[in-house]
Symmetry: C2
Subunit: 401 residues, 2 copies
């Protein structure tokens, strides 16, 4: 029915897991997951990912210190001391120490201040013997010089920053953030602050992209809006390809008159998947161009969001060598029935309400155009491909955000 | 035993929940949780917290658009159309539309392109009737003008940024980030990059503080290191108080000769809690000075970390009006027994290993000085106050990071 094109682009519906697998497998084959390395100031390294093991450059702690407020003594001087048979120690043979303070070399143990009796200005009485090392924090107790402080592929936490500084690491090798570019396409799109007139729509999917790329450890870039014509889109892609690690093309992913994304990616590289058997937003394109991931992102915002979560996020995680943590799954009863289509995985946005000690799972409107449903959602309920829906009152699992 | 002080500072052990409750209750009474407001550019608002409800300044979408690639028609022209009795429609009575494109005012419904047969250059044949609104995205479908886009106390997500821009919000009112100041005290402390000599220790707890304050939505500030003497510490606190919302004083929280924190906070304001019945790091001080929280943080890094999590984090959450999300709790069997002290809550750092489909919970070294134990931990196991430990093989709950 549509104006005849030179080549037909087939929009299929590949099962989600299969589609993602195929995409990531191909990216692995072309060597995409080999990250670059750069040096990073440790004090600004929180959230960065180590590109190799980092070792201690000095002992931490680097001197023997007291683990208690007390008195440093030689254990041999305390032998046999007890409540019934206290021992007295003279000034030159003990030393007052506070927690964290260095222990003079001649002493090998500390008695807690509470367990010492001060006899006169230069003498103490003790009631128990000590063992060598008692209440002494040894050199290198936390990290010995040369010991591993952080393994490779470690996402730097605040406490890791402290450990690095303690061990004399002021710069560390980290993975260069992958540059992730979003190209918004659509003749109706304008910047949100522009005059929308009668039929212009604000371009805002780039802001969803930007926020998540930043969160997932990438360097987001948004290109200027390009009208939906073959040549300008292709040129914008060709121009940015050498400078980006990942490319996401907004809209034009279906098979309408002006859906050029799949054709352009075919012409520049390879389209692995066009259409994923899920909802909302099945017209996803997964391609590889210049050995880089090129994702065609459906235009509706919830569809774009889901595409980022399902296909862009794993690209970044594998590139950075980090794993998603365990997911926060809760169970509850569905407040109303959900219909879904056999053969499609349905991603339902839900609210979770607590009633006594039970959870009620409330499905939100399913439209792929409704950002509101995403904003008020607390989690996602996946209806698997082999079901046509879920009953009201059914016990379901929800993945919380 | 220790050198006589003017006033004795009593180090007790208050139960954790009681101590935190007392602290937060007092902060509420003195009006600490009344945050200030500022305007924030929406494109930089991710992670900020709204200080009031934000409403749509325009409809989103603000024009009727097609939800499908297809043909816009008048529903009255399609009445009675069926496979057996198709209807033909002339060029002036239909209009080709792509997904997202505006619908001319005279049409009220869309037929999917797949269900239209093109007869000639100026005529189509259809096989079903349409209803008004069919496949048309109405004005304000996502947000109607004046409708709430974000409620008060909402932490801005990437999709919220998109929704704000869609609805014409380019600046929003957010809570001013609370300024949180860390004052490191200790004559042995130096900057990590300085020469440590024989008995100097790198000051790094401020970096743990900084990272978490940033993560929790505050504005972290670190003051220069102050030696552990009464007057310089007191002066540093007095100087910074007018410019900070929260003050954390590193070390000097016990009852040794040089532990001035509690005495200074007593002299400047009120000490509510000195000593918490938990481990590691019971010498915590919770005070209020100038109606602001003043926390005495134990010097060992894991103790400092726990103090931030238990007492500083809830201050920020309540100040910003946000709730901690549900926590990710997993169950598994303990790999070895844990000893703990009756009356103390023990925070055990643990690793979680998967064996077949079971989880093994492996306790890490318990020393409060060992950052390494925190870095390699995946979660925290709390041993409650009324137990003296846990058995090997016991089924336990772990809160994952």
């Amino acid at each position: 029915m549509v104006d005849k094109k030179d080549r037909d682009v087939y929009l299929e519906k590949q099962p989600l897991d299969e589609a993602r697998e195929k995409f990531l497998e191909k990216l692995k084959d072309v060597g995409f997951f080999t990250s670059k390395e750069e040096q990073c100031d440790v004090i600004n390294s929180r959230g960065r990912v180590t590109s190799r093991q980092v070792r201690a450059l000095r002992n931490s702690p680097h001197f023997r210190s007291s683990a208690m407020d007390g008195v440093a003594v030689r254990s041999k001087d305390t032998k046999g001391a007890s409540k019934g048979d206290p021992k007295r120690i003279k000034r030159k043979d003990f030393y007052f120490v506070d927690t964290g303070e260095g222990i003079p070399d001649e002493f090998d143990s500390v008695i807690m201040i509470e367990e010492v009796n001060k006899i006169g200005p230069r003498e103490i009485e003790i009631y128990q013997s000590t063992f060598p090392g008692q209440y002494i924090r040894p050199i290198g107790e936390d990290f010995k010089k040369e010991e591993t402080v952080l393994p490779k592929n470690f996402k730097v936490t605040p406490e890791a920053v402290a450990a690095l500084l303690n061990t004399g690491n002021f710069e560390i090798p980290v993975k260069k953030k992958p540059v992730c570019t979003f190209l918004p396409t659509g003749s109706e799109l304008v910047s949100p602050e522009a005059d929308l007139g009668k039929e212009k729509a604000p371009e805002t999917n780039s802001h969803i992209f930007r926020g998540y790329i930043d969160k997932w450890g990438g360097e987001p870039i948004t290109l200027p809006i390009v009208k939906d014509e073959y040549r300008p889109i292709k040129e914008a892609i060709e121009k940015v390809l050498p400078q980006t690690n990942l490319l996401a093309i907004g809209a034009g992913t279906s098979k309408g008159r002006k859906d050029y994304t799949a054709r352009i990616l075919e012409d520049l590289g390879e389209v692995l998947v066009h259409g994923v058997a899920y909802r909302p937003g099945h017209p996803v394109i997964l391609g590889v161009v210049n050995n880089k991931p090129a994702v065609g992102v459906p235009g509706y915002p919830v569809a774009a969001w889901l595409c980022f979560q399902q296909f862009v996020k794993p690209c970044l995680e594998k590139y950075l060598g980090i794993k998603s943590g365990e997911e926060l799954i809760v169970k509850g009863r569905l407040s109303k029935k959900i219909k879904s289509t056999l053969g499609l995985r349905e991603f339902v946005r839900v609210k979770v309400e607590h009633e006594a000690d039970k959870r009620k799972i409330i499905p939100l409107p399913s439209g792929s155009s409704k950002l509101s449903s995403l904003i008020y959602a607390q989690g996602i309920l996946e209806v698997p491909e082999n079901l046509e829906g879920l009953h009201k009152g059914e016990l379901v699992k929800v993945r919380l955000f």
